[in-house]
């Protein structure tokens, strides 16, 4: 029984990261109707920035905040320079653009910082949390930061004018423009927020998976799986999906024989396909009705 509780808690901790990643994916999906394949690489790059700052002697939280600010700005720049001109292009062109971005960021990070694996510090320490053997302080910290972030986002979207404008621009761009919302900048803001959220996820998971240019590959697939499970149209769904996927991954790894570390990605694949076949809209998403 203790193993079971332990695995659930560990699942919730990794699930927190998947939730962040899924949320970043859903935010961009909401803003521009496309999945950002480069999301993980953007997060990895931000994490490297914070690592570099720390190497130069900036304290952890200083580097953390600077990296988030950098990602926010970077998100705007990428959207304005590369993806705004593609807004009217066919989906294929956009997918190609995301892949190009993926390749560039991955390769540039490797050029600057090498492909060697680096240690990444955690501000929470790794001693047992509150004297319990079940969960470390870093895992508790991950969950705490995620919950904080999600609450903040909820209030932003529900109770601020800017949040309302973003939701309007995402759901009905024409009508939003008519009432004076600058939809073009709302998209840029969506990119910026997604980049910032992704960077937080990256910095939180780096102590667990270690820092290297390919660190986000698996996390991104799980983030996608979480987003699909929760429904690509629902931020709340993305979060719930993230936690569910984290717990599911840990339980499957422990209790299904033959599923060890070597099968983690196929599990995510199986999950994505199952959800898409059984319930394409996800748990919380709305099915899309086509009007001919």
């Amino acid at each position: 029984m203790e193993l079971f509780t332990n695995q659930i808690l560990a699942g919730i901790a990794t699930g927190a990261i998947y939730a962040c990643m899924a949320l970043a994916v859903v935010m961009i999906y909401q803003a521009i109707d496309h999945l950002n394949f480069a999301q993980g690489e953007m997060a990895m790059f931000s994490t490297f920035i914070s690592w570099q700052l720390m190497q130069w002697g900036v304290p952890y939280w200083g580097a953390f905040v600077l990296a988030v600010v950098f990602s926010f700005a970077g998100g705007v720049v990428i959207e304005r320079l590369l993806f705004k001109p593609l807004a009217k292009a066919p989906i294929l062109t956009n997918v190609a653009g995301f892949i190009a971005l993926f390749a560039i960021i991955n390769s540039v990070a490797g050029l600057i910082w090498d492909f060697t694996i680096k240690q990444y510090p955690t501000p929470f320490g790794s001693s047992p949390f509150l004297g319990s053997q079940l969960i470390s302080t870093h895992q508790a910290g991950m969950i705490g930061v995620t919950v904080l972030l999600l609450t903040g986002l909820y209030f932003f979207f529900q109770f601020t004018r800017m949040g309302l404008a973003m939701r309007a621009a995402a759901s009905l761009p024409e009508s939003a423009r008519l009432v004076g919302v600058n939809t073009s900048w709302m998209i840029a803001l969506g990119w910026a927020m997604a980049a910032a959220i992704g960077s937080i996820a990256g910095m939180l998971i780096a102590p667990v998976v270690f820092l290297e240019p390919n660190m986000m590959g698996g996390v991104l697939i799980y983030g996608f799986a979480a987003a699909v499970l929760g429904g690509l149209t629902s931020p709340l769904g993305a979060v719930v999906g993230g936690f569910l996927v984290g717990v599911f991954e840990n339980l499957a790894g422990t209790y299904i024989p033959g599923v060890g570390n070597e099968l983690k990605l196929p599990i995510a694949l199986a999950l994505i396909i199952t959800v898409l076949v059984v319930k394409p809209a996800g748990l919380f998403g709305r099915p899309i009705v086509k009007r001919v």
């Binding site: 999945l35 989906i91 190009a100 995402a170 994505i272 998403g285 001919v292």
Partner: protein
Amino acid sequence: MSAAIEDVVTEAPAVEAVPKRAMTLGTGTSLVMLALLLLVPLFVKNFIIFQLTMLLIYGVAVLALNILTGGSGQFSLGQSAFYAVGAYTSAILMEQFNVNYALTLPVAGVICFAFGFLFGQPALRLSGVYLALATFALATAMPQLLKLGFFEKWTGGVQGLVVTKPDAPFGLPISQDMWLYYFTLVITIAIYLFSVNLLRSRSGRAFMAIRDNEIAASAMGVDVALYKTLAFGVSAGITGVAGGLGAIAVQFVAPDSYTITLAISLFLGMVVGGVGWLPGSIVGSAFIIFVPNIAEGISKGLSGAVFGVLLFLVIFLVPHGARQVAIVGQQLIGRFKKN
């Protein structure tokens, strides 16, 4: 938070429509290409012959993706998975069951066709980005599936399998590399002709109708589900043959040769060659073989950045890839002739 209703009529199609006649080359150009492909290997070194063989093999794989995306308008970032299945089928049949290498290729094709057809079933529920996502997950998961202890008896696990290179038959006095080149060339030409005729046939027209407007196609009596899965199957089958040829040419299969990077390369080759323009496949294939070599020569790890930047340049400057360049070239030649 989202619009539950999507306007289909005003929505831009996922892939731009390519007129059927613009998909192939004229007879004269085709013959010149064929002569070049036949004669060039006679004058170059063995290593270059090997690279030309790989050029043809990747060309076939890009062609397969082109049928899927350019023909039926579906995406795939998972071609590396089908390529891997084809390669492993050939390698296992040759090494574990002593089947003749030429006979393994149809088997690889059939197995991959079935695999693709089955994968096409859940893919039916998906369009656009969702499909890209599902195939992306397939490609990422494939190396881990190949490493599975359960299959290790046949696949050789992480170590992979070594494949023996076939000799030229009937005591022909040519090198192994050159024989393999001509062998590949014959298969490539056969697949090219098959693809061109497929796209001109009733099925090809159905693919294109689905690509351009799915609802209109189904209203006109096209069995959308059947033709979409069929396109997936055909594409996977051809990719599987390419994979089998690749295994024979490289003489080695291992799980980590077939990562997402390969799938991305093939996708890139298609975009560079021009989506829906079949001859462009060979241009795209040349691009994905030679550009990384040049980039790695300048600095290790640079190839990703060079790939990415070039891809953006293609998207912004020549969105139709090599097809656009070819058309411009043709017009220039036409003007030159008039003077």
